[in-house]
């Protein structure tokens, strides 16, 4: 057996190459924003906030610009004042929407019996001090969210909820047990006509009845109640029916947008177009009832008998509560807290707790597509041939080209493979990192070749000493690479503007580790073998 395949150094290289090729084939490289195109936002807040606070703000923004994470926007807080957003969106109209949602308040609405109860603009604040939080209550954990309405809304609230609870029975102690009306919360409900097929309606009806704790849909929710409370123009389309033109022209007064369920027939869409609507077929987030998702319905909250003035007979005498509470209970403190936070975010999405000071943006067009990759590969091959030729000419040993080319290619494959494995995106910065790593790799290879076969060959030193000297140079060089790149790795999560360099530093460090730990030991061994051969050849000719 060829000794090449026996030595541990080669097994190590083989092992990592196999892993890398495997991950490139089966996982594949995640292309970064430079390849796919997209937009990069840098959001600066009015002031520095705590890590939990900025995470909360990022959550609110996420909720608003990419509910359900359908588009897969990535939001990352940087330090306590900045949030970076990466989105695949490049369409100017969509971008404008995103920006307005980042900057502006969300349109929060609470409705009752198909009428508007209060809006996000009318919430003065969430009282995070008194009563806010989770407390153990028997064997469940109760959460409580107090908030304050402005006077006008508080008055309306008292009128609209008046006697909305009815006593249905009595407890063993003789106290009445009430059944109360429920309010529904919406965030950024679309200003559009919604059309769904009968099939979609039936499906959603079942789903809503079943309920969904994840989406905050209580069991037994009636689809008609959702439709009523949304106060939205909604049409349930029976196959072959004609739209009521009077109704459509009424809707057209407020909007020309129509959102339709994915299974709506071509004929219906054509009819809507003919009536003057701009139709968008929209899928719902996976697992969500279509209508619930499209309406951006968020919560259904039962009123409590404490605020419906059951003890007052005359509506004009109704007590007005400016401070209201929403409460609930869950089986664990953690889940209760999650519920509480989620709802607080919803009510606050009216306005961010700390306002946005500036938005910087950069659109990236996906021009760096396939042609870019082929250009880079061409660049790499030409550079490789040049480098190999220089080394062959310098040391007059053509055989040297083989290990050099193999090493450089293996290192590149390993860097790409490990990037794929770690799902780190490959972008321009990562390419720069590969260049940095390959550059130092060539330098180190020259040092190794030089120590062992070059003209600089030091006859008085033993092979071991030579290897040791080469090793010192190579390790020091790798350590300096680490020293240069470490600050980027350490500071980029906390300092604005340099997060784009993370990929660069990461790949450069990865490359130099691969070099020092995996490929260079094998390379040294090969050069040792070539050196012996060269010596023997010399001996023969003498």
């Amino acid at each position: 057996m060829n000794p090449l395949f026996k030595h541990w150094r080669f097994l190590l290289v083989g092992f990592f190459l196999a892993i890398s090729i495997g991950s490139l084939l089966f996982i594949g490289v995640t292309f970064g924003i430079d390849f796919k195109g997209g937009t990069l936002y840098q959001i600066e807040l009015q002031k520095e906030v705590t890590p939990t606070e900025i995470a909360r703000i990022a959550n609110i923004i996420q909720q608003r610009i990419d509910p359900g994470k359908l588009r897969g926007d990535i939001l990352s807080p940087v330090g306590g004042k900045y949030i970076m957003i990466q989105t695949a969106e490049t369409n100017p109209t969509e971008l404008e929407k995103i920006e307005s949602r980042i900057r502006q308040q969300g349109k929060f609405e609470a409705t009752l019996n198909g009428e508007l109860l209060f809006t996000g603009d009318e919430i003065k604040r969430i009282s995070r001090k008194d009563g806010y939080g989770v407390a153990k209550n028997g064997n469940v954990y109760g959460w409580n969210l107090p908030f304050v309405l402005n006077d006008e809304a508080a008055k309306r609230f008292a009128q609209m909820t008046f006697h909305e609870c009815t006593a249905i029975s009595f407890s063993p102690q003789g106290k009445p047990i009430y059944d109360c009306e429920r309010t529904m919360f919406f965030l950024d409900r679309p200003n559009a006509l919604i059309v769904l097929t009968e099939e979609q309606y039936d499906f959603d009806e079942q789903e809503l009845l079943l309920g969904n704790t994840f989406l905050n849909i209580p069991q037994g929710t009636s689809i008609d109640e959702v439709i009523e409370d949304s106060r939205n123009a909604i049409i349930i389309y029976e196959n072959g029916m004609d739209f009521n033109s009077i109704y459509l022209s009424e809707v057209l007064k407020s909007t020309d947008q129509a959102i339709v369920s994915p299974d709506l027939s071509e004929k219906a869409i054509n009819d809507l177009n003919a009536a003057g609507f701009v139709v968008t077929k929209t899928k719902s987030a996976e697992g969500s009832p279509w209508l619930w998702d499209i309406l951006n319905a968020k919560q259904i909250i039962r009123l409590s008998e404490g605020i419906t003035n059951e003890d007052v007979a005359d509506p004009s005498q109704a007590k007005i509560f400016t401070q209201l509470n929403i409460s609930g209970s869950r089986e664990s403190a953690e889940v209760a807290f999650q519920d509480l936070e989620e709802l607080a975010i919803l009510l606050e999405s009216g306005s961010l707790p700390t306002p946005v000071k500036s938005i910087s943006k950069e659109t990236i067009s996906p021009t760096l597509g396939t042609s870019f990759v082929s250009n880079i590969i061409m660049m790499g091959i030409i550079a490789l041939i040049l480098v190999a030729s220089i080394i062959i000419i310098r040391y007059k040993t053509p055989l040297l080209a083989v290990p050099i080319i193999i090493t450089l290619i293996s290192e590149t494959i390993m860097m790409l493979g490990i990037l794929a494995l770690l799902k780190q995106p490959l972008d321009l910065a990562a390419f720069a990192g590969i260049i940095a790593a390959i550059g130092t790799s060539v330098d180190s290879e020259i040092v190794i070749v030089d120590e062992m076969i070059g003209k600089a060959r030091k006859e008085h030193l033993s092979l071991l000493q030579k290897i040791k000297e080469g090793l010192f140079i190579i390790t020091t060089s790798a350590l300096t690479m680490l020293a240069v790149m470490m600050p980027i790795i350490l500071l980029s999560p906390n300092m604005p503007g340099i997060s784009n360099l993370y990929g660069f530093a990461f790949v450069a460090i990865l490359g130099s580790l691969i070099g020092v730990l995996i490929t260079r030991p094998a390379f040294t061994k090969v050069i040792e073998m070539i050196s012996d051969k060269v010596e023997k050849d010399k001996a023969k000719t003498v």
Binding site: P355, I382, A429, A436, V447
Partner: protein, 338 residues
């Protein structure tokens, strides 16, 4: 005698980099707006500049074009309509006013910015509603401004379907913060690398030799950037960091050979290292030339800038390593013998 070369190079480089023409900061570090146009039709900088100046209220606009065999484009740096800037400031103050519960002031500021942007007189009772309306107005004014600029260019040059626009809008405060971050990582890298070298060689003079070479190389690269009009940006900062890495490679090799091997004459060892070092730098430079030529041809701006910065850094390295550092090391070894 030879020492005159590094000194002259240093003086000229410092002059180019910091006096004339001087280094420019890229917009990601100063804040500003850029519209990048790519198309298959050739664009002309002066026409664009005149067009924008005559049709828009721009206090500042500068245009440069990139035309290579493969693609055409224009890089338009402009300052926004002063109205938009003013409205943005008003809205920011309104936001702070709401935060501090000065509702009437917030309403007033919002109304003012709406009037400024659209001339409309509106009245509000709810400060949050007023603010939202003002923000809406600002966003659409912003978008309108951009749309008009784009269509003006498209019409002027009769650009077809293949035109592509890219926008960069960096706020001045964010730019400033990025500049601070960039300076931080550069300084920290230099400090850490110095520590690593000192720990490796445990002697002051050789450490000084290596660090002087790194700084010298970076200054030469900066001078080249100033002369070629390549701005300091996050991309060029990363290229400058790569120079630190490359420059240190040849210097560590030289220092280690001259110092660690106790036999032989320092001069001889240095000459031997020179050959190795030239091979190292030679291979890197040849690879960089390939990178520069190809990325110029295909308009890969980022790669082009990295290539040029590295190339000049490495040329500087030939001087700082093989003249200055060699001289320093030989002197150091001779002194040590005494």
């Amino acid at each position: 005698m030879y020492m005159i070369i590094p000194i002259l190079v240093l003086i000229f480089s410092l002059f180019f980099a910091f006096v004339y023409p001087g280094l420019k900061l890229g917009i990601e570090l100063t804040g500003g707006n850029v519209l990048i146009v790519r198309s298959s039709t050739e664009l002309d900088a002066i026409t664009i500049e005149n067009l924008l100046k005559s049709e828009f209220d721009l206090t500042q606009v500068s245009v440069s074009t990139i035309n290579s065999a493969n693609s055409m484009g224009a890089y338009i740096e402009y300052s926004k309509d002063p109205k938009l800037i003013q409205a943005e400031e008003l809205i920011n103050s309104a936001q702070i006013a709401i935060d501090e519960e000065r509702d009437n002031e917030a309403i007033g500021l919002s109304i003012q910015s709406i009037k400024l942007l659209s001339g409309k007189d509106e009245s509000f009772t709810n400060p949050k509603v007023a603010l939202a309306a003002a923000q809406d107005e600002l966003l659409s004014a912003n978008e309108n401004f951009l749309d008009k600029m784009k269509s003006a260019i498209v019409n002027k040059f009769n650009l077809g379907e293949d035109v592509e626009f890219q926008i960069r809008e960096i706020s001045p405060t964010f730019g400033e913060a990025s500049l601070v971050s960039g300076a931080y990582i550069a300084i920290l890298a230099l400090v850490l690398i110095t520590i690593v070298i000192f720990i490796s060689f445990r002697q002051i003079i050789p450490t000084v030799g290596i660090v002087q070479a790194m700084i010298f190389d970076v200054i030469v690269a900066l001078a080249a950037m100033a002369l070629l009009g390549i701005p300091i940006s996050l991309i060029t900062i990363s290229a400058l960091l790569m120079i630190l890495g490359y420059s240190v490679d040849s210097n560590i090799m030289l220092t280690s050979r001259v110092l660690k091997d106790k036999t032989g004459v320092a001069g001889e060892k240095a000459t031997r290292s020179l050959k190795t070092g030239l091979t190292m730098t030679g291979t890197t430079i040849s690879a960089l030339v390939v990178m520069i030529v190809i990325s110029h041809f295909y308009q890969i701006e980022v790669m082009l800038q990295i290539g040029i910065v590295l190339l000049f850094g490495l040329l500087g390295d030939l001087v700082s390593t093989w003249i200055t550092n060699v001289g320093l090391l030989i002197w150091f070894v001779e002194e040590r013998k005494k």
